[in-house]
């Protein structure tokens, strides 16, 4: 996993609640057996018109959002299917951070496993960031070390993250390698509860 320490980038806002993983990456793109190359399909049905041309009304197609690396959206972002293709697509498109008042549980975990940082902020702060995101020149800095989101204009907010996940993200560690450290505990558990046939 790519480590995440500090990131500064442009924000893009999609002012909708309950953005589900079927929108983030529609099912017709889940048949590939690779982990890469999903960015071209991100928000496919919203992003493109029926004739395959970009839909000018869709937020990410607006010129002011070009090159954005921080996505801001309303509550329950990532609800629905467990498809990890959703964070893969967001990341491959160029996003490093997603900010919302709340996230669906499986999606939130999937992001953390891939070095894509999901940040929960209060509803009013998210509204502020959604408004700021309409500007082409608005940038935000996210420091995972300090657990803080701030801009150059005086906005600064702390955010919560599980300390264990934070360490993994900062170091970019492979979780399976870490779990192997507890191999003796797993083997002992298996002897007691779940012997091999």
């Amino acid at each position: 996993m790519k480590p995440f320490t500090i990131h500064r980038g442009k924000t893009a806002g999609i002012d909708r609640a309950n953005i589900d993983t079927d929108q983030i990456i529609p099912k017709q793109f889940l048949k590939r057996i690779e982990r890469t190359g999903f960015g071209q399909f991100l928000f496919y049905d919203w992003r493109y018109l029926s004739d395959g041309t970009p839909n000018p009304a869709f937020e990410l197609n607006r010129p002011e959002n070009e090159g954005a690396t921080i996505l801001v959206a309303d509550e329950n972002f990532g609800c629905g299917s467990s498809r990890e293709h959703a964070p893969w697509a967001l990341q491959d498109y160029g996003f490093r951070v997603i900010i919302a008042p709340s996230f669906a549980d499986i999606f939130y975990n999937n992001c953390l496993k891939n070095g894509l940082l999901p940040i929960r902020l209060d509803k009013e702060d998210v509204r502020y960031l959604l408004r700021q995101s309409e500007r082409a020149d608005y940038e935000l800095t996210v420091s995972l070390e300090e657990q803080r989101v701030f801009d150059d204009e005086g906005f600064s907010r702390p955010f919560d993250i599980d300390p264990y996940r934070k360490q993994l993200l900062l170091k970019g560690w492979d979780e399976i390698d870490l779990t192997f450290v507890y191999e003796a505990h797993i083997a002992a558990y298996e002897r007691r509860h779940c012997p091999r046939p």
Binding site: A17, D45, C79, S81, R83, N109, D162, T179
Partner: protein
């Protein structure tokens, strides 16, 4: 001793390692695998030269991509590759697989219980959000992403923080024509798609106790649509009776011993939950969704709402957008919505009792002109049994298409797709934009409501219909 919930008991039984400041390392008893969310996990193992720790606790099938007309002719090359990859991976890593030739093949959440792999007290995971289905047996079952699939394959464990507990108690009895599907849609409709976020739900109460295992699976299946990590129901005699004699369930004396253990798992009298919601079963009517998330629903005798009825600007905008997508005018009675497609299937409602209930409405009648209706049994075993009982013939005589098992039009990863702009009465679990096909307009309903919509060409209140005995 302090009374405990079943959630506390299963959790404590599975802690492999615990340390301050870390999630618990939980042991996983059963890992179900399907073709869509596993290839990258197996590839990860190969790249690092890792093995599958417990192939004996892992079970695979293919369901999402499988064609339901001729399952052996997969014209989509990418889909074919994905199915071939699962076969290859199972062979290479020694994982049992119910493949397309197997009589045991079916939707992963239908075959787990059917084969008796799903048992009370187990921790069960699968790279699929509807893994919550298995909670019906008093198992702690939840969906995971592909990275976690890889982690479980390699270590048979997961690092997990214990979620909070939410009790949803359904008091009293359900009325005629009101099903488990209506109960879960009513819960989500009343309390929202985020009510379960951060929680594991335990469903309790008389209405739940009176339900069959298949009805309980429908309820737990859609816990994820309420945002919950998992949903479960304490096991009881109904659970044990269902499991007796199943292929992978304990046999003979072992079964009786297991029942004693399982019985002790049920939540103790007086156990504390972080939150409790109580619902009177008699207030629940047959439900129909009118929007693009499962909370956007009303009873069949209701009307499509006005956006102004909703409090926040965000909600009003979401409703406006949903109605535009669905092509519905505020104030339209639900029973006036025409239906061009009917889909009876999915991990929510494709089991034998679902098909029996639907057939009881269909028997002796014909599908309305202009309606295309599909029945997709959840597994090959369900299919076989439904054919033996004569249910298949009832559907075929009425003009339904009778298909092979798979996920089918629930998400349209196979050729079963609902065309743009058409309304589909669907027994599946998600009415998201584009879920059943780009521009498809999904209405989530119970099997009897879907069957009735097929016959009449629009939604009808099943409470006013007479069901015919079918078996």
């Amino acid at each position: 001793m302090k009374p405990k919930t079943i959630i506390d008991k299963i959790w404590e039984n599975h802690v492999v390692y615990r340390e301050e400041g870390k999630p618990d390392l939980l042991y996983i008893d059963l890992h179900l695998v399907h073709e869509v969310t596993s290839p990258q996990a197996f590839e990860g193992l190969r790249q690092k030269g890792r093995k599958v720790r417990r192939p004996d606790l892992t079970f695979a099938t293919m369901d999402h991509n499988v064609p339901t007309v001729n399952r052996f002719v997969i014209t989509d090359e990418v889909a074919r590759n994905q199915i071939a990859a699962l076969e290859r991976n199972c062979r290479e890593f020694g994982i049992p697989l119910a493949d397309l030739n197997s009589e045991e093949q079916g939707i992963v959440h239908v075959i787990g219980p059917e084969l008796g792999l799903t048992q009370p007290g187990k921790t069960i995971v699968c790279g699929d959000s509807h893994t919550s289905t298995h909670g019906a047996f008093g198992a702690l079952a939840f969906g995971i992403g592909t990275s976690e699939v890889e982690h479980v394959l390699a270590t048979q464990t997961l690092w997990q923080h214990k979620p909070k507990t939410l009790q949803i108690c359904i008091n009293g009895r359900l009325g005629k024509g009101v099903t488990a599907k209506d109960v879960i849609l009513a819960i989500i409709g009343r309390y929202g798609v985020g009510v379960g976020t951060g929680y594991i739900i335990e469903f309790t109460g008389e209405a739940i106790r009176r339900m069959s295992m298949e009805e309980r699976m429908t309820i737990c299946n859609m816990s994820i649509e309420a945002g919950a990590r998992a949903g479960l129901i304490s096991p009881d005699e109904t659970t044990f009776a269902y499991l007796r004699g199943r292929k992978y369930a304990p046999k003979g004396e072992e079964f009786d011993k297991a029942v004693e253990r399982w019985r002790a798992l049920a939540s103790d009298e007086g156990a504390k939950y972080d939150k409790t919601i109580e619902i009177d079963a008699s207030t629940i009517a047959p439900m129909v969704t009118w929007g693009t998330n499962p909370a956007m629903s009303t009873s069949v005798d209701g009307v499509v709402p006005h956006p102004e009825q909703f409090e926040s600007k965000t909600e009003q905008n979401a409703v406006r957008r949903a109605l535009e997508y669905m092509g519905l005018e505020p104030g339209t009675p639900i029973t006036d919505i025409p239906v061009q497609h009917v889909f009876i299937g999915s991990c929510t409602n494709s089991r034998l009792s679902d098909l029996r209930a639907a057939a009881s409405i269909v028997k002796g009648k014909k599908v309305a002109p202009g309606v295309r209706a599909l029945v997709v049994p959840g597994s090959q075993q369900v299919k076989k049994q439904a054919e033996a009982e004569g249910l298949a013939q009832i559907f075929i005589d009425a003009g339904f298409e009778w298909r092979d098992s798979g996920c089918s039009a629930c998400l349209g990863m196979n050729p079963d797709i609902i065309p743009e702009g058409e309304h589909c009465a669907s027994t599946s679990n998600r009415n998201f934009e584009g879920r059943q096909g780009k521009g498809a307009r999904t209405h989530l309903v119970s099997p009897v409501m879907a069957a009735a919509a097929a016959i009449y060409g629009h939604f009808v209140d099943v409470r006013q219909l007479e069901a015919e005995p079918v078996c």
